[in-house]
Subunit: 216 residues, 2 copies
DNA sequence: TATCTAAAAACGAACGTTCGTTCATATACA
DNA sequence: TGTATATGAACGAACGTTCGTTTTTAGATA
């Protein structure tokens, strides 16, 4: 296959027409799937929102599930979340944790679809695509945890590092889930201070039980 | 396909015929919904699994959503979970937390459907039925937290009690979610000891930072 | 206990609709 | 001009629901 050059393209997008439509379809699908679930979304809805005729979708995707797979792998909001987890910040362990949590919060609250896509994956696909997603997450989570251990502030030795990282992610996750489930029913205060309190609970468990010299 | 009822509802002669089939329908629906989601489950599947003709369902329910509502309110696994949360145990705060978590773990691991139903509720119904469910949970969670404060072992004063309880529930919840998502990908050790470690993280956040005990 | 009977429940074909997908055809682009 | 893309009607299957009918149930009568 020859690589089409077309260096004289006047328009700014280096994307071909087909690639642009493809991205439109993925964008529409992401929005609809995360809103109504996979089985609750029809191809006609995707076509309408993407501004394309129904049949045209099949010029870009073999079938409905191929669209979901593409959304999962190419446009999954996890990609916007990971940088938030990774970004360097905080001199001490406590600062790093709090700031990491806060960044994840800010990112996640702008991407409601993130939680939804994970739920779809779990519920409607039984985690079918998770190995692929996980392959992207894992190395970065490892590097995040490595960086943690380099901060001043000791970690408990009776709890493995991966468990600590998983618990951190899990707490942030359940923070959002809880708000979604019971947010209108029970008042736990302003989100940001709630998250800080939760991270306080997390923090003082991953430090030695009897205080090392650190003071916050 | 296979007609298997009687696992949860044996042929109880005290119930009228109609009530028995109604329970069969709810049981089949619970299983199917939690497996494939709401939109992913057809009335024919429900009828088959319940061992009843398609049309017969409508002698007991107005429509499909009425079945889901009935599952939510009458047969929701939350009802098997709450007693586990409540059961009295442990003399100290630490014992009570660990044992409560362990009981919830044992209950939840026998009811995979619990997590699923909550996900369906969140994703496909946007939490429509949660006010009703929450009304059942709330008083019991309050009494649980009250009992916590009566155990020997102090609680931090800079974090509200409801936040502590919500975090506890959230951590157990995310413990299951994490296993579901990444259980086959990452090894965090045997579930029971993992849960203990997570609860260790939780515990040493809700106690005073430097262990001096005076309160209440 | 045996018989009768109205209501409840079960049945499965059929309805109208919507589903995912295909197709022949038209248009746009390189 | 030839290929990629767009179109929307059409397809068969599956969807939730309805319907007329038959069977079962449970209480009243005897």
């Amino acid at each position: 296959m020859t690589i089409d050059q077309t260096a004289a393209t006047p328009n700014e997008p280096s994307l071909s027409k087909g690639e642009r439509t493809r991205k439109q379809i993925i964008g529409a699908a992401l929005e609809l799937f995360s809103d109504q679930g996979y089985h609750g979304t029809s191809m006609r809805q995707v076509a309408d929102l993407a501004g394309i005729a129904l049949g045209g979708i099949y010029n870009h995707f073999d079938n409905k599930e191929a669209i979901f797979t593409a959304v999962t792998l190419e446009s999954h909001p996890i990609h916007t979340l990971l940088p938030a987890l990774e970004a360097e910040s905080g001199d001490t362990l406590e600062e790093a944790i709090h700031q990491s949590a806060e960044r994840m919060y800010e990112t996640l609250s702008q991407r409601e679809d993130f939680l939804n896509l994970i739920l779809i994956e779990t519920l409607e696909f039984n985690g079918k695509h998770f190995p692929d997603i996980f392959a992207q997450i894992f190395p970065r989570a490892v590097s995040f945890s490595k960086r943690l251990t380099e901060k001043p502030g000791d970690l408990r030795e009776d709890i493995p590092l991966p468990v600590m990282v998983a618990t951190f992610i899990g707490m942030i996750f359940s923070f959002f889930l809880f708000q979604r489930l019971f947010g209108t029913q029970v008042d736990l205060g302003e989100p940001k201070s709630l998250l800080r309190q939760i991270m306080e609970i997390y923090l003082h468990g991953i430090q030695p039980q009897i205080g090392e010299g650190d003071r916050r």
